[in-house]
């Protein structure tokens, strides 16, 4: 097996690609955007939404870019009039059975369907066909499902079954009424769901949304800060979504080397503690058996004074510090430095065994 590169052209421009790449992979690498709705890098290509269709020279029918592998010498065209017309048809059809209530929809600004409708100038008024009128499912602490906004891309069902392997949801019902649902339409509980929110993270529309972030701000109003989870040692990355000085939501970082956008319940939904009203907000000093609030200066002066006194009286062998596997590398380094340079011993340990 040689990894000889294949030569293709995309919209007339030359591109080199690997044997197992699809047209979509190759286009991505070449910086050419092909629209998709049912594609997620975490999933096997599905070829369901028909938006990634492209024309290939000497092939009579347009081909889905996500499932078609490149061949040497292939000439690919991603923006012909014909494929644009076909894509517009698909979008028109999707919007004909869609609430089109972008004004209040949680996904506005972060919705694959909305951006493509905008790009292709489809407004949803074309055929007023039969539309779904299914009840909103708001039956658990984290995930809201609005079936009317579902476009049946199957991403939630695929990620839940193929990646998480939780088997919580499946495409249930037949034909016009089939939607992704839990078995017997039961509410999501720990019995059937992990609450990892992978389904939400992959949904391209406002059908699956994070309950806790609802109404707290549009995607474009958030400052997204990339960070690393503070719970377990896996080290997943994600974005803290900050608005008005508050963390209001966690969203996936699909480029993350460890987790590729996947998270668990703690990482995705366990951020409330940051703004908990029970946080300690100021230094506290024990005075005559009672705890009283103090300024930083008072507290730090007292700490310096008392540690100095104890050290002077009982010597370096009687004072030490516990550092934490919860703190940063820099803080752990400084605790070790503090004990070695100021307490003048090696009485420093972290509870890093646990």
């Amino acid at each position: 097996m040689s990894d000889k590169k294949l030569k293709i052209t995309i919209n007339g421009k030359k591109a080199l690609c690997g044997k197992h790449e699809t047209i979509l992979d190759a286009a991505k690498k070449a910086g050419v955007r092909i629209p998709t709705l049912c594609y997620d890098e975490r999933l096997e290509p599905y070829g369901g939404c028909r938006l990634c269709i492209v024309e290939v020279k000497d092939v009579p029918r347009p081909l889905p870019a996500c499932t078609t592998r490149v061949k040497d010498g292939m000439e690919v065209f991603t923006e012909t009039e014909e494929v644009r017309r076909l894509r517009k048809n698909v979008l028109t059809l999707l919007l004909s059975n869609h609430p089109n209530d972008c004004m209040t929809c949680e996904a506005t600004g972060n919705c694959g369907l909305q951006s493509l409708a905008y790009e292709y100038g489809v407004d949803g008024k074309r055929y007023a066909g039969e539309t779904w009128d299914l009840p909103i499912r708001d039956d658990n602490p984290f995930i809201i499902f609005e079936p009317n906004k579902c476009i049946l891309c199957g991403r939630c069902v695929r990620i839940c079954n193929d990646v998480v392997m939780a088997g919580t949801i499946e495409l249930s019902g037949r034909g016009f009424d089939s939607v992704p649902d839990t078995a017997f339409g039961k509410p999501r509980t720990l019995e059937n769901c992990e609450f990892c929110g992978q389904c939400v993270s992959t949904c391209p529309t406002g059908a699956l949304v994070d309950k806790k972030g609802r109404g707290k701000g549009r995607a474009y109003e958030m400052t997204k800060v990339k960070t690393t989870c503070s719970y377990c040692g896996t080290g997943c990355n994600f974005f803290l979504n900050v608005r008005d000085g508050k963390v209001v939501k966690v969203t996936s970082d699909f480029e993350a080397p460890v987790n590729q956008g996947n998270l668990c319940i703690k990482g995705r939904y366990g951020y409330d503690f940051i703004h908990s009203s029970e946080r300690i907000t100021s230094p506290i000093i024990k005075k005559g058996g009672r705890y009283v609030e103090a300024t930083w200066d008072e507290a730090l002066d007292l700490i310096a004074k008392r540690f100095s006194e104890v050290l002077a009286q009982h010597g370096p062998s009687s004072v030490g510090a516990f550092s934490s596997a919860r703190c940063t590398n820099e803080e752990n380094f400084l605790v070790s430095k503090l004990v070695r340079t100021v307490f003048k011993s090696n009485n420093v340990d972290c509870c890093a065994r646990v």
């Binding site: 990646v163 719970y231 319940i265 540690f307 550092s323 820099e330 503090l338 090696n346």
Partner: protein, 538 residues
């Protein structure tokens, strides 16, 4: 991790998570990743989808155990006997990797002599695992092209936890399943920055980067950088500091972000120790059992309120970034600087990136790491120089021990410090559940998580439940020789008859009141995993 350091050289996972999908035999030991490390489990599931074989060693019938080709349902605390038995089978059948053993290891003869004592009959008796399962596990793992061992706290939180990790290293070395991608040993740790906290030297015997306190050369380097004489005397472990405090010989402790008064087994002793101190400072984001004993409590900053780095379980150094201002105005790194400065040792940094620069200059394994690089790339240590790409697979040619050879350790089965008897007939196993974390101080503040898992549940096998005439949702008393708690019962087939399970996330039903004081003699890791209890309705 001390075990891996002794056998291989470094106390760290040998490979990368991203390599997991290409494993063809997974050996999962004492780890329940679908609960404790869900994203690791996603990588493992990818391997399973691609047809990987799976061997699971766990007393509980976990999600993975249900899907395993071989489930080794060993009795708690019999890990060493089981692994010795597996190695013995491998050697008897000639399934070992002779070339690897000859070229890259030492101490093989001692190991061979030792494991001979562990024939199938003996091991069946100690572990309760059937001989057939042991042979099949030995075959699958030794004959795999790429076999990886993934182990968790079920292995390290034992009184012989260090030896358990050495036993695992023995197994990997005998089969030569190490030093290549998608092989090796991945230890899954509990807290987010366990790896970084060990790496950066808040440890009694090592400077940052595992440089020994007893090495004159290392001391000299730090003395030069820090301008103070370094004590050559190995310091006290946390357990020892607390023991001495009880004896009135230890007087002052600064505790940063830990809650030993809840998370340490045998919390009675810890609380007594903390109360005996002349001066205790605790910095944390919430009031905890431990802050109740403090003379000064300082507010901590959450991970969203500061810049810094964490090092994950695969040695990957990753940034955290300040998203909001520290609630009380200061982050921990600033507070430490102020304390040092006020005590006459000026410490000034304007940003944590400067601390990382100092770390890099003093710590060879972090030598090439800087915030600037971390903006552009993801790095796993060892990363000794600014142009080094980091290391995804350890030990590709040499082990980081003197001479570059890995060392086999001949080990004996010792059993749990406390075994069930007629008065305390059940083995209590403690662990984590997916929804909660450690002392629960963070996850219990999430109303959604509390709605799902509001309280501690005692998991008990249906057979035992019938015997005790208890059913789902009943409240029972669980008691050990040390304490007694009241909890609700959950009847499940995940626990085997004779074993019951509790987490330790809830202060109201603190399982650590029950656990035993037996500790790993080498690391001081408390024995969370097994102790004897009785269960009663009244």
């Amino acid at each position: 991790m001390a075990g891996l350091a002794t056998s291989l050289g470094a106390g760290a996972a040998t490979n990368s998570l991203a390599q997991m999908p290409d494993i063809d035999t997974i050996f999962l030991f004492g780890s329940n990743p679908t609960e404790a490390h869900p994203i690791v489990s996603i990588h493992l599931k990818k391997a399973l989808k691609k047809g990987a074989r799976l061997v699971v060693g766990d007393p509980r019938q976990t999600w993975m155990a249900k899907r395993a080709d071989v489930w080794l349902n060993l009795k708690p605390a019999t890990n060493i006997a089981l692994i010795n038995g597996i190695i013995n089978v491998i050697l008897e059948k000639g399934w070992e990797n002779k070339e690897f053993i000859n070229k890259r290891t030492e101490g093989f003869d001692e190991l061979r002599a030792k494991v001979r004592e562990y024939d199938l009959k003996t091991v069946e008796k100690i572990t309760g695992v059937s001989g057939n399962a042991i042979v099949e596990a030995a075959r699958l793992y030794s004959q795999a092209k790429n076999g990886m061992i993934v182990y968790g706290l079920g292995v390290t939180e034992h009184n012989s936890g260090t030896e358990n990790s050495m036993a695992i290293a023995n197994l990997a070395l005998v089969c030569g399943q190490i030093g290549r991608p998608s092989t090796g040993i991945m230890a899954l740790r509990g807290q987010n920055n366990v790896q970084g906290a060990s790496d950066l030297g808040p440890l009694p015997a090592t400077f940052p980067g595992y440089q020994s306190i007893t090495s004159a050369e290392a001391r000299e380097k730090f003395e030069k950088a820090w301008g103070v004489r370094m004590s050559p005397e190995i310091g006290l472990k946390s357990v020892e500091m607390l023991e001495r405090a009880c004896e009135g010989k230890f007087k002052g402790i600064f505790i940063l972000g830990e809650d030993p008064a809840q998370t340490d087994p045998n919390v009675h002793e810890v609380r007594k120790a903390l109360d005996s101190l002349e001066f205790l400072v605790v910095q944390d984001i919430f009031h905890t059992e431990t802050t109740k004993h403090a003379h000064v409590i300082l507010p901590g900053a959450s991970f969203a309120e500061k810049d810094g780095t964490f090092t994950n379980g695969e040695r990957r150094v990753q940034r955290i970034r300040k998203a909001v201002e520290p609630l009380a105005g200061r982050a921990e790194w600033q507070v430490i600087c102020e304390i040092a400065t006020r005590m006459g040792y000026p410490m000034h940094y304007t940003h944590p990136s400067e601390i990382m620069d100092e770390i890099a200059s003093l710590t060879p394994i972090y030598g090439g790491i800087s915030y600037e690089r971390l903006e552009k790339e993801s790095l796993q240590w060892p990363c000794p120089t600014k142009d080094h790409p980091g290391t995804t697979t350890l030990y590709t040619d040499l082990f980081s021990r003197p001479g570059g050879l890995a060392k086999f350790m001949a080990l004996d089965h010792k059993g749990s410090g406390e075994v069930p008897d007629s008065e305390y007939p059940y083995v209590l196993v403690t662990g984590r559940i997916r929804e909660h974390y450690n002392n629960g101080s963070m996850t219990r503040r999430s109303p959604g998580i509390m709605e799902l898992v509001p309280e501690e549940l005692l998991e008990i096998n249906a057979e035992d439940a019938v015997k005790l005439k208890i059913k789902n949702g009943d409240k029972v008393f669980v008691s050990s020789r040390r304490g007694k708690i009241r909890v609700k019962v959950r009847v499940t087939d995940r626990s085997q008859p004779g074993n019951v399970f509790l987490s330790f996330h809830f202060p109201e039903a603190l399982s650590n009141l029950l656990t035993s004081e037996h500790k790993d003699p080498i690391t001081g890791t408390p024995e969370y995993k097994a102790c004897a209890v009785k269960i009663a309705k009244k």
